[in-house]
Symmetry: C2
Subunit: 187 residues, 2 copies
DNA sequence: GTCTATATCTTGATAGAC
DNA sequence: GTCTATCAAGATATAGAC
């Protein structure tokens, strides 16, 4: 089935990109992992740029769905914030993979304009969701000391991505947790 | 002179690594920029791994010197913290380059063990310096609300690297400043 | 120290058979 | 949809002349 191979390619490519960066994996790697020849990949994704755009589309949709799940499951600001941190924590895979965005940005000059726009859109989406969490946390008083939800959201997004990076450097989930000690203690 | 070419190569390589990632530049790029043939680069740096190790050594020493300058020039916790943020802000080059560590980590699996150890050492050095700043800021009461300097340091290092990343994504220094609004408002 | 010349491998991508 | 075969370009690296 076409869909199955395509999904398998996206799965393998996402893991490879998050583990080794955009310039760190090749069609040969994907072909080996999925069990087809590398020329066949071009049937599903004519160029590597097209593949990276599909990756960002799926990543954006997945994270958005996860955020919606969090909003459905938890009704306080602090619970939602802790759940979001936990979501990024699990995405680390014990320090072996980065957020897709994080891994792509270092190779910024190798990326297509289309994928750069998708990264911007992803960041805007996440910023909006995080700010809403701080808005709620300020209103329901479950997050201590919130005076500026917009500024908190910008800092938190940078912290989520930066904590992924430092944890990846040390290949240690403890490094991730340590970076969030200040924020979680306010919840 | 040998030293001049070597320094020129390190300068060009550092800029390339920070702008395009470790897998995003080649010896051909360096040769073009410095004005020698790519084979000649191997005289100075036999392998790309050796080059990256030399890059990290120099980067570590440079940042350490900059931190010492900050300690010599400013004597309050808040002033030193603001100066450190300013140091990273300038290193962004208007959103065009990342911290060398940040750009290397995404390509973690392409790196030599030696360079991975140097990244760890760099992070340990920076963590110590940042914690000392929060220690002082707690003591001299110039940074508001410091109760846990160790946790503050871990969060701040992740924030510095993450803010570089989000600012690079948007190619905008304002994104960097926005991520530090919360922290600078405590100074 | 830098050069030319070369070796060897990998890259993303295409053409055309099945 | 997947294959074989092939391509041109680019990568790191080495040998040996100057």
């Amino acid at each position: 089935m076409s869909t199955e191979t395509k999904t398998a390619l996206l799965d393998v490519a996402e893991h490879a990109a998050r583990a080794r960066g955009f310039d760190g994996f090749s069609y040969a790697d994907l072909a080996d992992a999925v069990g087809i020849r590398k020329a066949s990949i071009h049937y599903h994704f004519p160029t590597k740029a097209a593949l990276s755009e599909a990756l960002m589309d799926r990543y954006h949709a997945t994270l958005e769905t996860e955020c919606e799940k969090i909003e459905a499951e938890y009704d306080t600001g602090s619970a939602r914030l802790l759940a979001l941190i936990s979501l990024y924590r699990e995405a680390l895979n014990d320090g072996k993979t980065l957020c897709l965005c994080v891994s792509l940005i270092s190779s910024r000059e190798s990326l297509s304009n289309a994928v750069l726009e998708k990264i911007d859109a992803f960041h805007a989406m996440m910023l909006g969701r995080i700010q809403a969490i701080f808005d709620l946390g300020q209103e329901d008083k479950t997050i201590a000391g919130v005076t500026n939800p917009t500024a908190e959201a910008r800092a938190t997004l940078a912290l989520l991505e930066g904590a992924h990076l430092t944890a990846r450097a040390a290949e240690s989930i403890q490094t991730f947790d340590a970076a969030f000690e200040m924020l979680t203690s306010r919840c």
